[in-house]
């Protein structure tokens, strides 16, 4: 039994979540693939705290090369600037690296995860390009530096997420596969139809990006969650009228579990051109 299995079916420790969650009715939609939408996720106070922390990072400026202190353009398949969570992240954002949050996501998605988590803030400048439709059944590398609650946060100082390249004192790294994607929209201007920046959900990889089967708008304090499967086709849709900001979190499962679930599904490796 993996750590993820141990979490399945157990009651979630609600202490911090009870204090911060404002919505206990999340919507599970089945089309075009199962996903959860939650609006008004957090209390106003906690949402404002998250927004302040996002804007604090954004206020440090943008970098076109990797800079751990700033939003950087460091993703090969995305037009977004990204700020990766440090492993010892604190403040409101640390909620997303907590065991409570991890277990809540695995419970609702009924996934068997490894406790390896990777989080980041994303900033799409005005007129960022459409993304490419992908599934995110991709390999992520982790070194081991678990928190006291068992969650093992990504630490880019020790291990490169997409390549497994070792840095510093790390002696071993592990391959995992993305299992759950969570996108939380925050610090955005008020959204209305036509301004773009939605997360498109699709029935196939060959759908036009602008013709999503369902499009989740980046309305502040709203969250999109889905299990990464061979059918979880999704993409960023160009933001034509205003910037678009979000927080993204990935949970992971073992390679063995992924191969058991989908024996014929090729695992995407970030070294190759996006195909998964």
């Amino acid at each position: 039994m993996s750590l993820g299995e141990a979490a399945l079916g157990t009651a979630v420790d609600r202490t911090r979540l009870d204090e911060t969650l404002a919505n206990r009715r999340w919507t599970l939609r089945l089309s075009p693939f199962p996903h959860f939408i939650a609006t008004g996720v957090f209390t106003n106070d906690f949402y404002r705290q998250l927004e302040r922390e996002f804007l604090d990072v954004l206020g440090r400026g943008l970098a076109d090369t990797a800079d751990p202190a700033k939003f950087s353009r460091n993703m090969q398949n995305s037009d977004a600037y990204s700020w990766n969570f440090p492993a010892d992240i604190n403040g409101g954002l640390s909620l997303f690296y907590s065991r409570d949050w991890h277990d809540m996501l695995t419970n609702i998605t009924k996934t068997d995860c490894t406790l390896d988590v990777n989080g980041a803030l994303h900033h799409h400048q005005l007129l960022s390009k459409n993304g490419s439709i992908h599934k995110d059944v991709g390999i992520g590398w982790f070194s081991d530096q678990p928190r006291a609650d068992g969650v093992n946060p990504m630490d880019l100082r020790r291990c490169a997420y997409t390549t497994g390249r070792i840095s510093g004192q790390t002696s071993a790294v592990r391959q995992t596969v993305r299992a759950v994607t969570m996108i939380f929209y925050l610090a955005n201007p008020p959204w209305k139809p036509g301004v773009g920046g939605e997360t498109g959900l699709y029935t196939s990889m060959t759908d036009p990006v602008d013709a999503a089967a369902s499009a989740v708008p980046p309305v502040n304090n709203t969250m999109l969650i889905f299990e990464n499967t061979p059918e979880s086709f999704h993409s960023f849709i160009s933001n034509t009228k205003q910037t678009r900001n979000s927080l993204i979190l990935w949970l992971h499962r073992t390679v063995e579990e992924t191969n058991r679930l989908w024996p014929s599904e090729p695992l995407y490796s970030w070294k190759q051109k996006k195909a998964s």
């Binding site: 009715r25 999340w26 089945l30």
Partner: protein, 259 residues
């Protein structure tokens, strides 16, 4: 709910415009009273259905009241040829009948000037088809396929509620509502004629004419107006919901001849 052979039978409601504010509110308020066939064009109603349900993220196995009595969501373009028959056939196949038809689908498009017809003709015709002809065709389809027994219709208090607007009763100058207003006025009068014709079959037809919602009226208030007409015994009436309250606006029937 109706008692039939000792069993409480839920009535069946065929609702169009289910993805809109009014449709979603009606589903949310009355999903326990009716088996609802919720017809939508683009956006499914944000209520429990075969397409979606609700989860408590901290107690995923908890039975939530919001998930009880889910509606059956049907995506259709009612303006397409075959769209009307498609949804009626699904309603009959799913629940075996239709006790209440609520025509809440509407095209709210505004146009610059009623005089500028030619440059906007295609959209104007689309609005007329959805606002005027689709509701009438739906009632006709249900009547021909199911409302054939006057006694059954009367005992089940079967009816049609066509959602119109105060814009179909009075002129709001300068709002670009000329064609919208005309479409609702046409719907009102066709509803009066339909009420007369279907009364022979024991089916009532009424119109709900609300002012703007959710700004002037609450959407729930309008949904309750639909239910008031459905549950009552009026026929050929307009229930007007306006700033000052509500009142009924009856049809004026000629004693003979024609106009």
């Amino acid at each position: 709910m109706e008692a039939k052979e000792g069993i409480l039978m839920k009535k069946t409601c065929l609702l169009t415009g289910a993805g809109g504010r009014l449709g979603t509110a009606f589903c949310r308020l009355f999903h326990q009273k009716y088996n609802i066939i919720a017809v939508y064009r683009n956006r499914a109603p944000d209520v429990a259905s075969q397409l979606q349900q609700y989860v408590d993220p901290l107690d995923v196995d908890k039975d939530l009241p919001e998930n009880a009595d889910p509606v059956y969501a049907v995506q259709a373009n009612l303006s397409d040829p075959g769209g009307v028959d498609y949804v009626v056939d699904i309603a009959l196949a799913k629940w075996g009948g239709v006790d209440l038809l609520v025509n809440a689908a509407g095209d709210l498009a505004r146009f610059n000037s009623v005089c500028d017809f030619d440059t906007q003709a295609e959209r104007i015709m689309e609005q007329m088809i959805l606002n005027v002809f689709v509701p009438i065709r739906l009632a006709g389809a249900v009547a021909s396929k199911f409302w054939r027994n006057r006694s059954d219709n009367r005992s089940a208090n079967r009816s049609v509620v066509n959602v119109s607007s105060t814009a179909g009763l009075k002129v709001y100058p300068g709002a670009g509502q000329g064609y919208y207003s005309a479409s609702k006025a046409a719907l009102n009068f066709l509803s009066f004629h339909e009420a007369h014709e279907l009364s022979a079959m024991g089916v009532r037809v009424n119109v709900l004419a609300p002012n703007t919602f959710p700004t002037i009226l609450s959407t729930d208030q309008v949904a309750h107006g639909v239910e008031e007409l459905a549950a009552g015994d009026k026929n050929g009436e307009v229930l007007v919901l306006d700033r000052g309250g509500q009142h009924y606006h009856g049809r004026e029937i000629s004693s003979g001849g024609y106009g």
